[in-house]
Each structure stands twice: as C-alpha cells, then as structure tokens.
C-alpha cells in the first residue's frame, strides 16, 4: 500500500519554479541535449540550470559542472539524463539545494534485469528518504502547458488544453500529443511514467483529479503492480473527472490454469473490463478512439440523458447515423416530438424527412439550418444532437473555385456565401452547445478528407472538432452518457 501522496508535491513536477537538467549534453544526438533543447525552446519561464561535467556552453547557456553550483532554492525539479550509477549522489546534492521532484529519464533499471530492479528499488527508497517525488525511471518526459514546460525527449509539444496524459509507454504519450496537435484539442499535463518505481499512473490520476488545469485524464496502462491500489485511486479520481483508459497486453496470461469454471472464465481482459466499469473509467478499444473520447470529454458538456436528435443536410449520412444510434445499448434515437415536427414544418417545405433523423433534403435557405439546429438543441426531450453536413457547401464552393469559369459568372459571390454558411454552422454548433449545456457533435468525412474546409477550420478555431464519421460521434456520446450515468448513480 502506498501512502496517500501529498498533492502539493506534484507542483514541483508539473509547475517547477526552476529546473536542473543533469547530464545536459552538447551533442545533438544525445538525450541530454534533446531534453535541454526542448525545455529551453518552448517558452518555459522558470530558471533552467544545465549541468555537464566538462562545463562549457550548450545552446548558448553556460553550464554548471555540478549541482553544487546551483543556487540554493533556485530549482525544485531535476531532469536526470545521467547513467544509473551516478544518480544517487546526484539526487543527494539536489535535495540539499531544495529539489523536491525528479524526473529520471535514464534507462538501465527495472527493465534491465535483476540488478537493475535492485537499483530501481534503491532509487525509490532514496527518494522517499530525501523527500523527492520520483517520476520514472526510464521515462520519456513531462509536459505542462500552463507553465510552458516541455521536458521530454520525444515530440511534439502540444497545444495547451484540458487533457492530462499519463502513460506507461512513452510512445503513447507521443501518439496522444500528436493527436492533440492535429485536432487542436490540447493538453494540460503529460507524463511518461516509465518504470513507475515510486509514482504510478494511479498516483498521477489523483493529481489530475485535483488539478484545476485538467478536465479529463487519458491513460495508457500495461501491467499494474498493485491492481487494487490502482482501482481505488482511479475510482476516487473518476468521481471528480472523467478518465479514459487504453489497456495493452490484455491477452497475456489469458490462458490461466483454473480449477473452477469461474476461474476459467475470468480472463484478465474481462476482469479489467469489469474493473473499469466499476471504477467509472471509459475504456477505449483503439489508440485513436482513446484520444477521441478524451477530446470529447474535454470539448462537450455531459448529456443529461440518452436521447439523441440527428440533423442532417447530407442524406444517407443521416440514415446511417440513426441506425448506429438505434442499435446502441446506451443511446436512444428520440422519436421526433410532435411539437418539434410542427416547428420544422413551419420552416421547411414538405419534402423534409419529418422524422428523426431530420433530413432537410436540400430545402434549406440562408438561416434554416441554424434555426432548425437551435430548435433541436433547445428541445426539452433532446439530450444530445449530432449535426451532419457541415462543410458540404464549402466543398461545392471549392469545386467551383477550381473550375475554369472562376472567377466570373457570379461564382466568387456564391463560393464566398457557401464558405460563410459553413463557418456559421460550425459556430452555431459550438455556441448552441454552450447556450443549452448539451453536447452538439459535428460529424463529416471532410474532417479527414478536407481538413482545410472552412467549417472544419472554424470548429478547430473555436476549440471544438469534427468527427470523421458519425459512428465515432456515437461512440463518443456513449462514453459521455455512460460516465454521466455512473456518476449520477453514485452521487447520493
């Protein structure tokens, strides 16, 4: 059992007032260079001290020959790139200078066999003794956008946002940061937990749950040294904020010898899945889904119920989306309320679908989509809206713009009109969602096929995003709804 960590201790890790990069290197191929470069290049506002045994300058910064030269109390975080054998003395010196957190990127510990494992335990014990919060070893770094901290040996540096990442694989920190950059849905903190010698993914969840910069946690786990402790911490954290989990290695040990029927059926994937549902964790099945669900939690309010209204100007997309929602175990395709039908009738010629999905069937004029969207979002029976067809007009405009008759023949004006309409739809989706506190999910293949489409660009500008397909929007909604339900059922 690990003791409840003092959350203040995480401040030094994620919001340090000064950083020592121990083992900074002048060789651009070395991690000690990369770490120094990334910290110096991304706008971190605190003091940075580079130590290098040979001295000299690195990236125009004068290095110090040892931590002993760092002014007392000037740094509270040390980013360690030195070989394992040097680390204990280094940390003792750091502790004397007031350092309270260490990120150890160095490899050669638990992942490197028996001897490494012993060194790792000693490292954890030493940090406990010195009062240093130990992250890693064998981790790839930390990101903290509120303070411009990019202390990592991987890329990229993501846009600022509300998703916090903790991962047992540095590769997935990287993947999630890449998705953050491409979608524009940003990150508050990210940490590659490495071997988790002293601080586990479950511990980071406790911090994220209390962290005012974070709205949702996104984690990747493989093995859990103490499953029970993880469960308890994750469940307590989920009561405060949503947590999205991606699990690797679900088949390992699946073929367990068991005397009982129950034991034979208790594969670790099934038990893990049940644990997630019990703890209120949103378990993703793929890497891209994991990010997308986290982004959904970051962008949308939680739906109050399961009833979904689909509004489309994109024909068959509406039908497919309705099918997907109708087949969902968690969502309900709301039978179109009579008053909503009447309100639409008053605005549209009779060829609209008069059903949910509400297919406007090309009968829209300048403001119809916006008006119908507001009617749908505002309706008391509607818990969430999926909007299809954003970007279609700009796509047509794009074709006209590329044709040989452009400019001329009145094309400039209509192209501009089309593009303006899509930006209006995108803005309305975001504004109405805020106004009525209900999720409005935009889905269109143009998110993938034409990311420069003005509708897609506008969503991104407003901090939202479009789902490349409506089934992804439905999956996201299912997770939002399930989390809300889990929390509500346990609220009393």
């Amino acid at each position: 059992m690990t003791a409840t960590p003092n959350l203040d201790r995480y401040r030094a890790l994620f919001e340090p007032k000064g950083i020592i990069v121990a083992g900074a290197s002048s060789h651009p191929g070395k991690f000690g260079f990369v770490a120094a470069h990334n910290i110096l290049a991304h706008g971190y506002r605190g003091k940075v001290f580079l130590t290098n045994r040979e001295g000299g300058t690195i990236l125009d910064e004068q290095t110090l020959r040892s931590v002993d030269e760092v002014p007392e109390g000037a740094a509270d975080l040390v980013f360690v790139c030195t070989p394992p054998a040097s680390i204990p003395d280094l940390l003792r010196s750091c502790a004397r200078k007031g350092v309270t957190a260490a990120f150890v990127s160095s490899a050669g510990f638990g992942e490197a066999g028996e001897e490494g494992l012993r060194a790792e335990r000693e490292l954890a014990d030493l940090c406990a003794e010195l009062g240093i919060l130990l992250a890693g070893p064998n981790g790839q770094g930390i990101i903290s956008t509120p303070v411009g901290l990019c202390a990592q040996i991987i890329a990229p540096y993501p846009p600022a946002g509300r998703i916090a990442v903790a991962s047992q694989s540095g590769g997935f920190v990287q993947a999630f940061l890449n998705y953050a950059r491409s979608t524009g849905v940003g990150v508050s903190r990210a940490v590659s937990a490495g071997n988790s010698a002293a601080t586990s993914v479950g511990d980071y969840l406790e911090f994220f749950a209390a962290d005012p910069a974070t709205d949702v946690s996104l984690i990747y786990v493989e093995g859990l040294a103490d499953g029970r402790a993880f469960f308890e911490k994750a469940r307590a954290a989920a009561a405060k904020k949503p947590i999205v989990v991606l699990k690797g290695g679900v088949t390992a040990g699946g073929a367990r010898a068991a005397a009982s029927h129950t034991g034979a059926l208790a594969t670790n994937d099934r038990v893990f899945d049940g644990m997630c549902r019990q703890a209120g964790l949103s378990r993703a099945t793929t890497v891209e889904e994991a990010f997308e669900i986290a982004a959904s939690f970051a962008v949308h309010p939680l739906p109050r119920g399961r009833r979904v209204f689909v509004l489309t100007t994109a024909g068959g997309w509406g039908v497919i989306t309705a099918d997907r929602i109708a087949q969902s175990r968690d969502l309900e395709l709301l039978p179109l309320p009579a008053d909503l039908r009447a309100a639409f009738d008053a605005k549209l010629p009779p060829r609209w679908s008069r059903n949910n999905p509400a297919d406007l069937a090309g009968s829209e004029t300048r403001d119809t989509v916006l008006e119908c969207l507001e009617l749908g979002v505002a309706h008391a029976d509607v818990d969430a809206v999926v909007l299809l067809g954003v970007g279609i007009q700009s796509n047509l405009g794009d074709l006209e713009r590329r044709g040989r008759f452009y400019p001329g023949h009145g094309l400039e004006r209509i192209v501009e009109y089309h593009e303006r309409q899509d930006t209006r739809y995108a803005s309305a989706a975001v504004e109405l969602s805020r106004k009525y506190d209900k999720p409005v999910l935009v889905a269109t293949e143009l998110a993938d096929t034409q990311p420069g489409n003005p509708g897609i660009v506008k969503l991104k500008e407003l901090g939202a995003f479009a789902y490349p397909s409506s089934h992804q929007a439905a999956t996201a909604l299912e997770h939002l709804f399930r989390y809300r339900r889990w929390r509500d059922r346990r609220a009393s």
Binding site: G227, G253, A259, L265, A266, N268, R277, Q278, R489
Partner: protein, 218 residues
C-alpha cells in the same frame, strides 16, 4: 503464488451462500439410504440425490448426481449406488437430498481470484454452452448493489433475463442479492479463492443455487 487449495463440500458451500442471502434449493444431508428416503418425503418429490464430501469436486463427470427421482424406491436405489461408488480418496461422504428445481434458464455465477485485482464476482449465461458463449461480466469484491445491478445490464444476451417461454422475467432484486451475497461470502473469508455456483437455475423468476463449490486456501 498458487497456494494449495481445498474445497468445501457442496453442503458446506451452500450453507455459506444461504447465510449470505443467496437462495438455495431446499435440501438435507443424510447418512444412509433410509434417511434419504425420509428426507425425500419431507422435501417433496421429485428429488435429486448427490454424493457429498469435501473432497468430491467433479460429481457430474463421475456420475455422482442422480436427478428427477420420483419415488421412494428410486431414492433408496440411487442412495445405495452412490454410497457404493465412493472411493477411499473421497474421505467421509454423505448423501445430499435436494428438491428438484426446474426452470428453462440457467445462469452461472461465482467468484474468482485475479492475479492483478484479487477477488472478483462473476455473472454469466449458464448451461452447457456457458464456456463457449462466455457471456460473463465481472466486478471486484466488495460489490455495491449498484455495481451488481449494472452487471445485469452488461450481459450481451441480457434478454435472457427477461420473460421467456411462459416464464416470468428474472427478479432483478433477487439476482442482485445473489451477486452481493457472493461478495459477502468472499469478504467474510480472506482464505476464500473461488466460488462456483453452477447452475444457478431460474425457477419462477427466482435464481436458485442448485450446485455450489467453494475453494479455500489450505
């Protein structure tokens, strides 16, 4: 980690389940055929007679279960045969006489010890295809009633719990009692490693533990 384990007899196992609020079939433990006949009369025919002892785990495979016995003669004969089939390795044995529980649906429930998360409670679709369908859900011990209720809705074939061929829907509260009861049995005994309740037969909407086996660390 795999410590040596031993099993409780079916009778012992079911007493623990019953004490935790899990419905079990009415049954009596009998020393000899005459007692079995008397018990059958008291419980009401038809009955099942099984050989019962702490070392007997695979009764069906060994033919140690006789079902649907309709009269005293059949009970007496079955009881005699079962006692004669006991092997020295079975240790002390007795006869378990139980009223037949009939229902069209079977569930499987239990408790297992996961190497990462420890003890967990299971609910699944039962019957001869239970392990092929593997439609099972788990929760970690201890379970709240809310946790248990959510398990019911997670079964892929949750329609199994609804009305079926003239039988009423399964009483959800009673099924939740079973799951929370299993959790309680596990919580009360830190040495407990597994529980099998198989089958859990649904009779008139009520899930009843018809066979049960508890495994404990020796």
């Amino acid at each position: 980690m795999p410590a040596t384990t031993s099993t409780l007899s079916e009778w012992e196992s079911k007493r623990r389940l019953a004490a935790a609020g899990i419905p079990v079939a009415p049954e009596q433990l009998c020393a000899d055929p005459a007692a079995a006949v008397a018990a059958a009369a008291e419980l009401g025919l038809p009955v099942a007679v099984k050989l019962c002892g702490p070392a007997i785990a695979h009764k069906t495979e060994r033919g140690l279960v006789r079902l649907g016995l309709r009269d005293a003669e059949a009970v007496r004969a079955a009881a005699g045969e079962l006692l004669a089939a006991a092997r020295p390795a079975d240790g002390p044995v007795e006869l378990l006489v139980a009223r037949m529980v009939t229902g069209k649906r079977e569930l499987i429930a239990g408790c297992a010890t996961d190497p990462t998360f420890g003890r967990c409670v299971m609910l699944g679709i039962g019957g001869i295809f239970a392990e092929i369908l593997a439609d099972v859900v788990f929760r970690l011990v201890p379970l709240s009633r809310t946790d248990a209720e959510e398990m019911l809705d997670e079964l892929t074939y949750r329609a199994w719990l609804g009305p079926f061929r003239g039988e009423p829907a399964i009483d959800r509260e009673r099924l939740v009692d079973v799951l929370v009861g299993l959790s309680k049995v596990a919580e009360e005994d830190p040495q407990l490693r597994s529980i099998d309740v198989n089958p859990l037969i649904v009779a008139d909407g009520v899930p009843i533990a018809v066979d049960a086996l508890i495994e404990v660390e020796a």
